[in-house]
């Protein structure tokens, strides 16, 4: 019973592959537009190992990780600072919500002027978007620290600084990880879009776009799957780190 339940997630995958194989075998869809699963995954495998796709994949990973890291380094301390004083947060809340709601892609032209064409623009736009998401979550995590826990620390004679580091910071960790996961997803989206359109010569976005331009459909699907696998893995990675370090979350 247990093992059969563990296999449940594979059911959806099997159905997708079956429908896809059937559609290509029966030529329900133009084979030029939709190559067979086998052809697609062979292309994915080969180009990841030997082709340019592997290089592009790593490029995108590097950019996404750098922008998330920059965002975290800026947003986490700032979020703790803002969250530790509700008044302070309320006074900048509108700004944060406004820019958080602004599509980061709308900032490309501005950042292009500031940083020119290159990695710096892509990474900084993605960092900008991710930072606001992380900031918002960290600040809320700190503000929503359990009152009783703060009181308990205070009653035991803990100073404000000690309460901040021993209680508020740890209380905000589960929410901080929510922010990091959302932040890294957003950063990936922004990086891939930037790679498509901002004079890029590498990266998964550029790869997808180029394959489409060259009508290399297996190559395009392979790049799409590579991007999907990357997004999924990054999310999983942060979930695993969270489980390791925030073992008490949700208990």
């Amino acid at each position: 019973m247990k093992t059969s339940n563990a296999l449940l997630p594979l059911v959806g995958v099997a159905i997708l592959l079956a429908v896809w194989s059937l559609a290509t075998a029966l030529k329900l869809v133009d084979p030029v537009l939709l190559p067979s699963p086998l052809a697609t995954f062979r292309t994915l495998w080969e180009s990841m190992l030997s082709g340019k796709l592997g290089v592009d994949f790593l490029k995108t990973v590097m950019r996404t990780i750098s922008s998330t890291a920059i965002a975290a380094v800026i947003a986490i301390p700032l979020g703790i600072l803002l969250g530790s004083s509700e008044k302070l947060y309320r006074s900048v809340e509108f700004l944060i919500d406004f820019f958080r709601s602004t599509p980061a892609s709308a900032m490309f032209p501005l950042f292009l002027v500031l940083f020119g064409v290159g990695d710096r623009t892509k990474i900084s736009v993605a960092a900008f978007g991710a930072a606001l998401v992380i900031l918002f979550n960290v600040a809320y995590g700190v503000m929503n620290a359990r009152k009783t826990r703060l009181l308990a620390a205070k009653v035991m004679g803990a100073s404000r600084i000690r309460v901040l580091f021993d209680v508020m910071l740890l209380e905000s960790l589960p929410q901080t990880f929510v922010g990091l996961r959302n932040g890294v997803s957003l950063a990936l989206v922004i990086i891939v879009v930037a790679e498509m359109f901002i004079g890029s010569t590498d990266g998964l976005g550029q790869r997808v776009f180029e394959a489409q331009q060259l009508f290399d459909m297996p190559g395009m699907y392979a790049a799409i799957f590579a991007a999907g696998a990357l997004g999924y893995s990054l999310n999983l990675l942060f979930l695993l780190i969270e489980r390791r370090f925030v073992h008490w979350a949700g208990r």
Binding site: R146, K147, T148, R149, L151, A152, A153, K154, V155, M156, G157, A158, R162, D166, V167, L170, L173, H247, W248, R251
Partner: protein, 273 residues
């Protein structure tokens, strides 16, 4: 009114002035507190006796918890003074146990470190912290795996950890705010006896807020009955059955009479106004 020998034996060491031993421990003078919609306390005076376990009991919303929260400094009073042997709260070591143990313990620390945390705040070195927690555990005869995180413990065990965390600093006074009301009945009975044991072992002045009259009388040397707000002392009811009290105590005439007396006063307060 005989005092069990054990109390005398474990009482404060020699050199302690006899008048201080019998003097009230905490003096509350002219304590006032109002919320936007109600005056909870208006020039409230009260003396908390030393080395006794007192329960605070009264109608809903009369300010039972507010009273101990003001004494323990969790809630600021509008006016008035609370002194511990003439000293302000800032110079007193005290323990406080919250009703909501789930939110009062630190889930990121194992139970052992939770208990040791107040010592860490005080700057006690690690090795000594260890020793003191181990000593307390042995003293109370607690049988919990303290290497577990709080969320792996039962509700009663978590509250017991909370109580130990409050006791680790060797407080001169211990406050408990409805500590057992989130536990099921079986666990409540067990925890009452744990608390009684702790009290018999340490003789710490203890103030317990309770919404359960049976529990209040069973555990206490005195029951402080409060009126509707603005709260006044309706009566300070003594109950001096010898400890350890057991299930048998609950059916003794003295217990039943005291409980009935408290209930009568309580009912009168509830129906007044």
């Amino acid at each position: 009114m005989t005092i069990p020998a054990s109390i005398v034996a474990s009482g404060p060491a020699g050199g302690f002035d006899e008048s201080r031993r019998t003097a009230p421990h905490v003096t509350i003078r002219s304590l006032s507190k109002h919320y936007p919609d109600a005056v909870i306390y208006d020039r409230f005076d009260f003396d908390i006796p030393r080395g006794k376990l007192i329960s605070v009991f009264g109608p809903n919303g009369c300010g039972k918890s507010t009273l101990i929260n003001m004494i323990a400094g969790l809630v600021p009073a509008d006016a008035g003074e609370v002194l511990f042997d003439g000293r302000p709260l800032s110079r007193v070591k005290f323990g406080y146990v919250f009703q909501n143990y789930r939110e009062a313990l630190f889930p990121w620390l194992p139970a052992f470190d939770n208990i040791a945390y107040p010592l860490k705040v005080m700057g006690v070195p690690r090795a000594q912290r260890r020793q003191r927690v181990e000593r307390l555990v042995a003293h109370l005869g607690v049988k919990i795996d303290l290497s577990l995180y709080p969320y792996h413990l039962s509700g009663g065990q978590q509250q017991l950890v909370s109580i130990m965390r409050a006791l680790i600093v060797e407080p001169e006074i211990l406050f408990l705010d409805e500590p057992f009301s989130a536990l099921d009945y079986e666990m409540t009975l067990f925890m009452r006896d744990q608390l009684q044991r702790v009290f018999m072992e340490t003789k710490t002045t203890t103030v317990l807020v309770s919404h359960d009259l049976e529990e209040a009388v069973y555990l206490s040397d005195y029951v402080l009955l409060l009126s509707r707000h603005p709260a006044q002392v309706v009566e300070f009811v003594p109950y001096d059955a010898p400890r350890p009290r057991t299930d048998k105590t609950l059916s003794e005439p003295g217990f039943i009479a005291t409980k009935a007396h408290c209930l009568k006063l309580f009912q009168r307060e509830v129906h007044r106004g």
